[in-house]
Structure formats: C-alpha cells, structure tokens
Amino acid sequence: MAVRFCCIVASAVLTVLLAGDDGKAIDRGELGKVLQVMPPNGPLWKYGNVVMRRKSAKAGMAPVVFPHWSHRARYTCRACHLELGFSMRSGDTGITREQYLAGRYCGVCHDGKTAFSVRNGDPSQCGRCHMKDTRDLEKRFDTFAANLPMTSFGNGIDWGEAVRSGLITPANSIHTERFTMQFPDKLKVPTKLGTTSPRSDVIFSHEDHFAELDCSSCHPDIFNIKKKGTEAFTMERNMYGNFCGVCHMQVAFPMNDCRRCHPQMSNSTGY
C-alpha cells in the first residue's frame, strides 16, 4: 500500500514538473491523479499542528508541538502572524529560548498571566509544549471539540460556523490600540473566480478572509493585485501548497472539502 502510494506521489511530482509553467487547466485524467495525491483526513486533533524540533533536539528537549486549534479559538490568524511576527512558513521565525523568555513570540502570552508561563516553575510546565508524547493533547482536543459544529474535514470543526454562532470569539488584536484599515466597500461582494467550466466556478469572499487576516497576508506575495494577473493560478498548484494552498491544506480547511469553494461540485475525492 505504502509502496503504491509512493509511486503515485512520484509520478504526480514528475507530471507536475514536466507540465511546466504553461498554466493551462489540466484534463480529467490528470486531475484524477492530483486528487489521489491529496492527503486523506488524518486524526482530527493533528490537523494544523506544527512540530518544531530543530533547536529543541539540539538542547536535548522533546520537540515542541504547537496546536493551531487551541489558539485559533482565542485569536485570529492576524493577531499572531502580523502583530507578533510569526512567519507563515514553519522554521522561518527562528524562535529561541532567549527571545521567548524576554517576552517575545510565545512569551507575549505565555507569561503566567494570560497563559501558563514559558519559565521553568514548580511544578515544571516545560512538558506542556515540549511534548514527549501527545496523549494529553489528544485528550484535550476531545473535550475542546465536543461542543463545536462538525465538518468532515481538517479538524472536523466548522470554524466559520463556530465564529458566526458565537461559540468562539477570537480576538483580532493583542495590542488592542492598533487601528486597522477600514474594509473597502468594493470588496464586500464575494468575487466569482471563473474556471474552465461553470460547474467548478469558485466563490471567494474577501470579507470572510479579512475577518481573520490582513491584506498583506496575501498581497502581494501570494496574489499580486492585478485582476486576472495572477499567473498559473491552477488547482494543481494550489494542491502543492501554492496560492490558496499556502493556508488551505495546512491550517485552514483542507482542499478535499471541494464544495466549500466550488459550491456546485460534489465532494468526490474518492474517500
């Protein structure tokens, strides 16, 4: 099974590499292959967890497991990724013990007041982040998720619905005094992104994204602001972690939940 999967993966990578940069829509056969590459649902508690082990291992500590699910219930993406300067690529931020002890990064909240402290105390709290095993985390997820609305993908939690129904109220800012840009009226209407066939058209809401993020989270690195100017913006590329795939697949709902973006399509990923 694993061997076969690896073959599929390898051939998909090859197809993708050979397909090059022409950015044309792929035909059904190839799409089928790409769909097979898409990872199936994993354990719900595991989706969006980031494991940081490079520096920990050097210092003889267990790796740090950061669960997005427990944090995103309290803060929007914006609060951490913009205000606190956490990169959206794992490993880029280069967090050190010295920095968080000085009250930066994790230390902003994990100060013993807002959340448990990064300092070594009695009893030692180190193990809450430097996890030898994740059994405790799994248990906490079950209690955490119990009352939240379900979906079949990612964490198995419909985060959008959870916010709308007031079950979670993530704060948009840690330094509350910051003024954010007023949301332009023009962008309040959801944008239709045309695809090769009307059945697969995508409805994109700027407003829903702005609720969690900032313009600069996407512009201009991921999407430049030229209309239809984003080159080679294809499903294939999304799937491999580009464009929408920067977030969807990693933390935001994964792309096997086709209908969330393609409302006319059925969720047929083969699983």
């Binding site: 690896c6 991921i222 430049n224 491999y240 920067v246």
Partner: protein, 267 residues
C-alpha cells in the same frame, strides 16, 4: 496510512522548490535585518568580506537626506561604488568613520586603511562582516524595546520615535552639508490621492522633505510625475518603483497597507 502523512510534507517541499516563483509566501526579513544592505562591488575581489551596512544603526542618528543627498550615497544597493580610497580620503563612510569624529562621547571607529595589524582587523570586520553576529542582534532588540512598536519592517515606528524625541536624527554636518541661509517658508502641498476601491492615500510632502530632501525624489525616483496626472500603480510600487524605492527596503514596508491607504488626516 501513517507513511502517507510522512510523504505529504516532502511532496510539498518538492513542489515548493519547483514553483518558487509564484504563489508562495516570501521569506520576511527579521526585524533586525530589515534595511540591511550588503555592499560588495570590490571587497570580495580584494580579499575582504562584503560590507554590511545597517540602516537601523544609522537612521537613529542621521536623516536619510544627510547621507543620500549630502554625502552622495545612491538609492540602490551597490550604486555608489564606494572605494576604500574614498573612505580613506574622508568621503562616504569615511566622512564619519575617520577615527576623529566624536559621537556620544566616543570616537567613531575608522574605516579602511592600507595597512593594519591583527588587532586592527577587528575593526575592519565591524563593516566587512564575516557573519551575522548575535551581539548585534541583541543590541538591536535592546534598542527596539525602547522604541514605539510597529508590526512590520524593523518593528519600530520611526516616525513616532522622532516625534516623541526618542531619536533626534541630525540633518547637518559641518563642512559637508551646504549651509542653509534663512529658509523661505514653503507650504506643504499634501497630496490626496483618490484610489478606486481602496481608502485614499494621504502623502505628506512636508514630512518627506524633512526626511529626504526634494532632490532625492525629484526627478530621480518620480520620473516625470506631475500632480494630478499620476502614472503609477500599486503593482509598480510592489515592483520597487516610486514609493517602493524606500518603502519595503528601509522605510515601513508596503505590506502595511493602512499606513498609506488611510482616510485619517495626518496633517
């Protein structure tokens, strides 16, 4: 099944390499690295490590105008073509880094010399940087802690720092800058730019002139731009033209949309 999870990151990494040119998040410079410029026209060939110049170290003491107008440093990396002899004669870096000029009670260390001892080499490598030093990084964080906080760039709001008097950049060096006689009063012609679909831009000519001087922007950076007939777009700015010459590299980055696209009046 477990193996699959193992494969996905590898797959993503491979795809990332193949497609690094589009749709990906770029690496953001760390706050201490923002505005850092590596000058290497001649150093490597002459057997010295490249020069690393940090704007954050210097802009707390001097205005952009002083260096970029009065001392003649160019606005793109490497464009000035500084030679070691220029520094030795007391121009460019050597204007200040001459072993004589006093700053904060200390002499500013000297720049290039033809001959040097092993001990003096330690001075060379302050500029001809061998590698990023943790000492400098810590110095940056110690400095930035005292400064008003900002989300992007250096993580410092330089404008407020100046307003509050936390930094007092000097705009005049005796003998170097031209002596200004009585200033005629120039009124600020703040420019309000109407942008469809985004909050309008309020650009303060006056503030920018104090920081940069007219000559730096006109006509070099804003080639042929006349009031009301703006010919530049956001995409061009993101490509590093016009406002993007400074913003993104040294002044606050253009990802901070609301600092330009603001309807709040900023004088």
């Amino acid at each position: 099944m477990i193996k699959m999870f193992f494969v996905v990151p590898i797959l993503l990494a491979a795809a990332g390499i193949a497609w690094a040119q589009g749709g990906m998040k770029k690496k953001k410079p760390l706050p201490c690295e923002f505005g850092s410029v590596t000058i290497n026209n001649y150093s490597r060939q002459a057997g010295m490590p490249p020069v690393v110049f940090d704007h954050w170290v210097h802009r707390q003491y001097y205005t952009c105008r002083l260096c970029h107008v009065d001392l003649g440093f160019g606005m793109t990396v490497g464009s000035t073509k500084v030679r070691a002899v220029d520094n030795m004669k007391g121009y460019f870096c050597g204007t200040c880094h001459n072993g004589k000029m006093v700053h904060g009670g200390k002499r500013i260390f000297e720049s290039c010399t033809k001959e040097y001892t092993r001990e003096e080499y330690n001075r060379c490598v302050k500029c001809h940087t061998l590698e990023r030093s943790a000492v400098k990084e810590n110095e940056f964080y110690r400095f930035s802690k005292k400064m008003p906080n900002e989300r992007l760039g250096n993580g410092i709001n330089w404008e407020i720092a100046e307003e509050k008097g936390l930094i007092k950049p000097v705009d005049y060096l005796e003998g170097v800058s031209s002596k200004k006689t009585n200033l005629k009063v120039t009124s600020d012609f703040a420019i309000k730019t109407k942008v469809e679909g985004m909050p309008d831009i309020i650009f303060s000519h006056k503030k920018h002139t104090v920081w940069n001087g007219c000559g730096l922007c006109h006509p070099e950076i804003f080639i042929g731009v006349k009031k009301g007939t703006t010919k530049y777009s956001m995409v061009e700015l993101f490509e590093g033209k016009y406002c993007g010459v400074c913003h993104d590299k040294v002044a606050f980055p253009q990802t901070d949309c609301q600092r330009c696209h603001t309807k709040q009046t900023q004088e």
